[in-house]
Symmetry: C2
Subunit: 83 residues, 2 copies
């Protein structure tokens, strides 16, 4: 069994209003050193695949088709084998 950890991030050219809101909150708490807050998604899932290659294919396709918006977001992932 394989465990995938997927990061979905907004492209740098896309404004991130949620990140801006968090940045304001952070500054209100007194942390003025903090800049450029960007919010993304972190998705974990198990793939009951027979090989790492199959797990990678499934993870990549699911990320492309469902998890990330191809117009605005990028994704990356790591896969580890689990017993």
């Amino acid at each position: 069994m394989y465990h995938s950890k997927i990061l979905v991030t907004l492209r740098q050219s896309i404004l991130d209003p949620q990140g801006k809101a968090v940045e304001h909150g952070v500054h209100s708490l007194g942390y003025g050193l903090v800049r450029n807050v960007r919010i993304g998604k972190f998705v974990e899932l198990d793939v009951d695949a027979r090989s790492r290659e199959e797990a990678e294919t499934v993870t990549k396709e699911v990320s492309q088709k469902l998890l990330a918006n191809p117009v605005m977001e990028d994704f990356s992932f790591t896969i580890e084998e689990r017993s």
Copy 2:
């Protein structure tokens, strides 16, 4: 300048309805091998700190006070120096 990457995840004991919804979507796309989808947050930010220790302190405190709900969520982070 330091760049922090923070993962905020729901504790394993907490139900994740958003993850369940994504799992249903994944199965509808034909990927029946996928199980146990869990959704978390990924936050990136810069800290204009003078030392790695200061950047770590700021990142940890911001995570505890604002980014993670201490009742339901855990967080972890990595920090890298950037010029």
